[in-house]
């Protein structure tokens, strides 16, 4: 720990960094203490095996929480048809049991996508370092946690030592001011940013999101914003904790209680960038000018407003893959499939927003639409609010929680050439199935696509 008071103006990122330095190992390099790790079935087996090969056991067990999400079926959970998926999930349970790490099994109501359950359980707390073998770990930065995705060797390192060698990042401040128009949300903000700076635009930086728009966003919306930070190339996205953060966390199962809560909140209130802190880069977005966004290509920065057209200079490869032409308008494009879910947009607010569009309407003929809640608790809450009934009546499938069509590792997979309106985060080639064509958009926009059978401006459906 640092014994010298930090007097120079500091950013939130630098505060979080300084509070976790175990040892300086070079200029701008340090071993950082890792407070929390989330573990899932896909990136962890080789880490547990590596640990065993070294004859080691986890250095600590309490800071870890494990759940299966990527490979899990989202219907007929009783028997997992795919033997490889069944084995992978069983291996996670066995590894955790042997290591003494808590695992939430498939039939536990708390099971869900790692980045949905961490916050839900109060496992994600401001001021902590959180890692996961998953690139969307920046989601947890919405709470003012220094959270980032790591590979399997790094998981093994955290299990063995509770620290990770890291290089200090540069900082980028993204200021978003103004009021979002009806039909526009956090997904549209982040897609706008990625479109503006590019898929590698923030490589090497930690982004902090600030401004009046961000201050007004719910925790769910802030998580959507931080979640897709990696699609702009940055591993870390941050929002300083405030009253919204504390209200979300109060009473969560793993959040501190009573006197410990009061003391924690006092500490968390200091987690902000100083007014005169200097960032390496500054970007400004005007919230009022943002239209609903749709991706047209195979990289998340290939994105346009719903009123826009595919760029005239779009490359041949994405156009061929997506079966689109340069200068073609995006609105009106017929879709085959709709996916509402993922760690980007599988939370209760997302489902409420989509249900608001689906209510009293019906999925268009020939379109298959599914809603996959981000966790068992999201599912339960949605059912308590009657959202499942709205979706079912409108012809949507109502599934069990998991990553599902965000990554197509289970049996939710598209066929070659199928076009999907998706609330997930990646439109890469093959991401939703070999040859499948993904258009990223918000939950409201995806619901609008479902009920019209076409990529549609949701604002026209807001009566």
């Amino acid at each position: 720990m640092r014994t010298v008071a930090v007097t120079a103006p500091s950013t939130l990122y630098h505060r979080l960094w300084a509070a976790h330095v175990v040892a300086e190992t070079g200029a701008g390099e340090a071993l950082l203490y890792i407070d929390r790790m989330l573990i899932h079935e896909v990136s962890s087996p080789q880490a547990f095996a590596g640990l065993r090969d070294r004859g080691l056991v986890p250095y600590r067990t309490a800071p870890h929480l494990a759940v299966a999400d990527h490979a899990v079926p989202t219907h007929d959970r009783g028997a997992i048809a795919d033997p490889q998926a069944r084995q992978q999930i069983a291996l996670l349970a066995a590894n955790c049991a042997a290591a003494g790490i808590e695992y939430l099994p498939l039939d536990d109501a708390r099971q869900g996508i790692v980045h949905v359950i961490g916050p839900e359980q109060g496992f994600t707390l401001p001021g902590t370092t959180i890692v996961c073998g998953d690139s969307h770990s920046a989601t947890h930065g919405a709470f003012g946690a220094l959270a980032f995705g790591i590979g399997t060797s790094a998981i093994e390192c955290v299990l063995a030592t509770q620290v990770l060698p890291q290089k200090k990042l540069k900082t980028m401040r993204v200021t978003i001011d103004g009021v979002l128009a009806p039909g526009v949300g956090a997904k549209d903000i982040i897609l706008t940013l990625i479109g503006r700076i590019g898929a590698a635009g923030a490589v090497g930086h930690a982004i902090e999101y600030v401004g009046s728009t961000v201050a007004a966003l719910s925790m769910e919306a802030r998580m959507t914003l931080c979640n897709m930070t990696i699609e702009a190339g940055a591993r870390v996205g941050l929002v300083a904790p405030d009253a919204t953060t504390f209200a979300y966390l109060a009473g969560r199962p793993r959040a501190p209680k009573d006197a410990a809560w009061d003391r924690a909140v006092m500490a968390w209130q200091a987690l902000r960038s100083d007014a005169d802190a200097v960032f390496d880069r500054d970007i400004h977005l005007d919230a009022a000018a943002i239209a609903p966004q749709v991706s047209w290509g195979t990289s998340p920065d290939q994105v346009i407003g719903i009123d826009g057209a595919v760029p005239g200079d779009a490359g041949a490869r994405p156009l061929e893959y997506m079966d689109l032409a340069a200068d073609q308008g995006i609105a009106g494009l017929a879709i085959d499939h709709v996916f509402i879910g993922s760690c980007t947009n599988g939370r209760i607010e997302d489902l409420r927003a989509a249900a608001g569009i689906a209510r009293g309407r019906h999925v268009a003929a020939g379109v298959r639409a599914m809603v996959v809640p981000g966790s068992g608790l999201v599912k339960r809450q949605a059912e308590a609010e009657g959202l499942d009934a709205i979706f079912r009546a409108a012809g949507f499938e109502w599934r069990d929680p998991g990553c599902s069509l965000c990554v197509a590792m289970n049996d939710d997979r598209l066929l070659p050439g199928q076009r999907c309106a998706s609330t997930s985060n990646r439109n890469f080639e093959g991401r939703q199935g070999v040859g499948a064509r993904t258009h990223l958009m918000s939950p409201m926009m995806a619901a609008a696509a479902a009920v019209t059978g076409r990529i549609t401006d949701v604002r026209a459906l807001l009566a």
Partner: protein, 202 residues
């Protein structure tokens, strides 16, 4: 970890930007729980069409891949690095990398070598022409058959680890155990709620 010091090899040209880890190793192959044998699934979709550059007999045995900007962006899957190594690739030269991929590569003895675009273009032309390159992490240079030598920067700590084949875990356990324990004692005082057992099994 496999040490990396000097490598002389032909290079495969794949000058496309934003080759993400889903392209390098599609997600459906992530159900395998082993590190080995993933090369047969690498670039599965691209290789399904005949004539993909990786399988071009002109580049048989090549251990260097010359790729476009932002190589390895996207998913954190370390399987992407393992699959490349299983194909025999020991070094990827690109104008820039996805950060998580670059870290994963270094952990496995696969050199992610970022070059400025003009130098990268030169290397790419040599790869296209079928000339071998010599990449030395020791002298931090790429030697081309036409006589040119291109110097490069590389993180000092990562360089030492790669040249010696060290890995993080042994180093940390050998050198920093006491610092970790001291940090924990301090954090128990400063943020006791992070150490409350009751919170963990809530």
């Amino acid at each position: 970890m496999m040490p990396f010091d000097v490598l002389t090899s032909l290079a495969i040209p794949l000058p496309e930007d934003n080759i993400d880890t889903d392209i390098i190793l599609p997600a459906r192959f992530l159900l395998h729980t082993e590190k080995t044998g993933l090369g047969r699934f690498a670039f599965a979709e691209r290789r399904a069409r005949p004539g993909f550059v990786i399988d071009d007999p002109r580049h048989a045995g090549a251990a260097i891949l010359v790729a476009g900007a932002n190589f390895g962006c996207g998913s954190s899957r370390e399987q992407a690095a393992w699959a490349l190594l299983d194909l025999g690739i020991r070094c990827v030269i690109a104008p820039g990398f996805g950060e998580i991929f670059a870290g994963n590569a270094i952990s496995n003895g696969l050199l992610p070598l970022a070059l400025p675009v003009p130098a990268w273009r030169h290397v790419l032309a040599e790869a296209d022409a079928g000339w071998p390159l010599t990449v030395s992490l020791v002298t931090q240079s790429v030697a081309l058959v036409d006589g040119e030598t291109i110097g490069f920067d590389f993180d000092a700590g990562a360089r030492e680890m790669m040249i010696n084949g060290w890995d993080d875990i042994s180093m940390i356990r050998a050198r920093h155990a006491e610092a970790i324990a001291a940090f924990e004692r301090q954090q128990r005082q400063d943020a006791p709620w992070l150490w409350d057992r009751a919170m963990h099994h809530g």
